[in-house]
């Protein structure tokens, strides 16, 4: 075998050096990306926004939605804002979303990070209003109900429901938010008269639970009844197989023990 060419040696050493620098830089860069692009659960996005991870990947940070907003609701995130740098978000206590029927912000998005085909603005889910009963005036027994009256999805997203008051024959009337209708526009948060808003719009994932498939609320009309002893299984089928419409754990009725 021939003696190694010193130029070749030099070249290989230089290449190895370059690769090492690129790998170091790449690792730091990758760590930064993983940190900064993690889901920011505090950020309220414009209407029609994709899920947080997809939104981060497709928002080009051009600010066209910000310029399209006639109320200056939207802004691009600065350093240490609630959203990753340069992405659009809004803070309802400052300026809420006034739910333009034409949704100009979503339609201005060139990349589809906001759904340009969004139809009715009432289908938008920017966030979910949450009432703090410890500080809400209505919950103290006052007839405030400002949030109910400013709500643009009136009577659906927030209702005022009677609630018994301790040791009193009189009821209090409290605001109750319904997640199936609340768009997260934040008009309630903006209008709330307490010093710090007692109704806040947050990302639903921060406050919303999930019951789970295995619970059966058999008394509710929208849920299928659980198979019970009152309805005897057909004589031929043994053991009884639970109907497919009611998934869940039903081993106690299945016979044959655990």
């Amino acid at each position: 075998m021939a003696k190694p060419d010193p130029n070749r040696r030099e070249f290989l050493a230089r290449t190895a050096q370059g690769v090492a620098v690129a790998v170091c830089g790449g690792l730091v860069w990758n760590a930064f990306l993983a940190q900064s692009a993690r889901a920011a659960p505090d950020a309220l996005r414009p209407p029609g926004a994709k899920g947080e991870a997809d939104f981060n990947a497709t928002c080009i940070k051009c600010g066209l939605c910000v310029e399209a907003c006639p109320y200056r609701t939207l802004k691009l995130a600065k350093v240490a804002a609630k959203a990753p740098l340069g992405t659009p978000y809004f803070e309802p206590r400052e300026v809420p979303c006034y739910m333009c029927p034409s949704v100009p912000c979503a339609k201005a998005c060139p990349t589809g990070a906001l759904d340009r085909e969004i139809g009715d603005i009432a289908t938008a889910r920017m966030g979910l209003a949450v009432v703090d009963p410890e500080h809400c005036l209505s919950w103290q027994g006052l007839r405030c109900e400002v949030c109910y009256r400013v709500c643009p999805v009136q009577g659906k997203a927030i209702t005022v429901d009677p609630h018994p008051r301790q040791l009193s024959k009189h009821a209090i009337f409290v605001p109750v938010v319904h997640s199936d209708a609340c768009t997260g526009c934040g008009l309630c948060e903006k209008a709330c008269p307490t010093e710090l808003a007692s109704v806040r719009v947050v990302q639903p994932s921060l406050v919303q639970g999930k019951i789970g498939e295995h619970y059966r609320l058999g008394w509710r009309e929208d849920q299928p009844p659980a198979p019970s002893a009152a309805t005897p299984p057909p004589p031929s089928a043994a053991p009884a197989v639970p109907p497919k419409a009611a998934p869940g754990v039903d081993y106690l009725n299945r016979g044959g023990g655990l």
Binding site: A57, I60, K61, C62, E67, K78, P110
Partner: protein, 302 residues
């Protein structure tokens, strides 16, 4: 036509003259014509974006120039988008709406005509910062670099950008780009832009000469690759050139000015050329000038 032969004859016959800065104001203004043109272009694009965002500038009832250099819309009709940003998002395996794809194609087509790094020299706001660093370097007489970085590092940065976009699932350079930060801050007042500008200035001033634009920036690398097919180019006349080297001293990317390859191609053959015109303004023999690549050599039609 035997251009290199002619050049050899011309060199033998012609004494080498160096560039001298004109003493008159008009002469100096003429010397700075490309620099002033670049600043005017950079600033007017910036002002058009700013005016549309803050003062509601319109044309025919539509916003004049909405958005920023990442994605924009002219007169509510013509979409534009940064093809490199779009490429990163596609590398991150996210399909995008048609508008941004059309916009990227529009910008790509524009720079295929103008020559790729025309963006860097004439549009990118960061080149104002790096030119200022270079100017300061010259005034302070700073020569030494703290680090040695090869100008080819930018292509590694480009490859790394696409690899990390695929790995992290987000547009890797867009999330750290000091250019985007600076431009966003100038238009929308949104964060870190000044910090980014100061960082790039310091890097260019002290660590690597022409460090950001000439060595590291993956966006510049992207445009350099596109620029190989660019149509506007600095044309070279080997017959009148005395090889005084003043152009090489003035050039921010001196690698692109190699007299051998210049004479062979009749133009600056590299995509890394910014089309900034500094070499043209400084050439004492007027051997360099802007021209269309397709129109052949200067010496052929003189």
């Amino acid at each position: 036509m035997n251009a290199p032969g002619n050049a050899a004859v011309a060199r033998a016959a012609k004494p080498v003259r160096h560039f001298e800065m004109p003493r008159t104001f008009g002469g100096r203004l003429w010397f700075l014509r490309y620099t002033l043109g670049r600043r005017a272009t950079q600033l007017s694009i910036l002002i058009a974006f700013f005016g549309t965002a803050h003062w509601g500038w319109t044309v025919a009832g539509e916003p004049l120039l909405a958005g920023n250099l990442s994605a924009a819309k002219i007169a509510g009709a013509i979409p534009m988008a940064d093809p490199f940003a779009v490429l990163q998002m596609l590398a991150a395996r996210h399909w995008l709406a048609t508008e941004v794809l059309v916009g990227a194609a529009v910008v790509l087509a524009l720079y295929l005509v103008l020559g790729g790094r025309t963006f860097c020299g004439w549009v990118c706001p960061m080149s104002i910062v790096t030119d200022a660093a270079e100017w300061t370097r010259a005034r302070l007489g700073l020569r030494a670099d703290v680090l040695h970085v090869t100008p080819a590092a930018r292509y590694v940065a480009l490859a790394l950008t696409l690899a990390l976009s695929a790995a992290a699932g987000i547009a890797a350079f867009e999330w750290v780009s000091p250019i985007a930060m600076l431009h966003r801050e100038l238009i929308f007042g949104a964060g870190l832009g000044l910090t980014a500008a100061v960082g790039v200035f310091a890097f260019d001033l002290a660590i690597v000469r022409r460090g950001w634009c000439g060595h590291v920036c993956p966006l510049g690398a992207f445009w350099a690759l596109v620029g190989r097919a660019g149509q506007v180019a600095v044309k070279y006349d080997a017959a009148s050139c005395t090889r005084c080297g003043d152009c090489v001293k003035a050039c921010p990317e001196p690698r692109v000015l190699n007299f051998g390859t210049l004479a062979e191609a009749g133009r600056v053959p590299s995509g890394e050329c910014l089309n900034c015109g500094k070499c043209i303004a400084v050439c004492p023999e007027s051997s360099l000038r802007f021209g269309l690549r397709a129109t052949g050599r200067i010496d052929e039609h003189i």
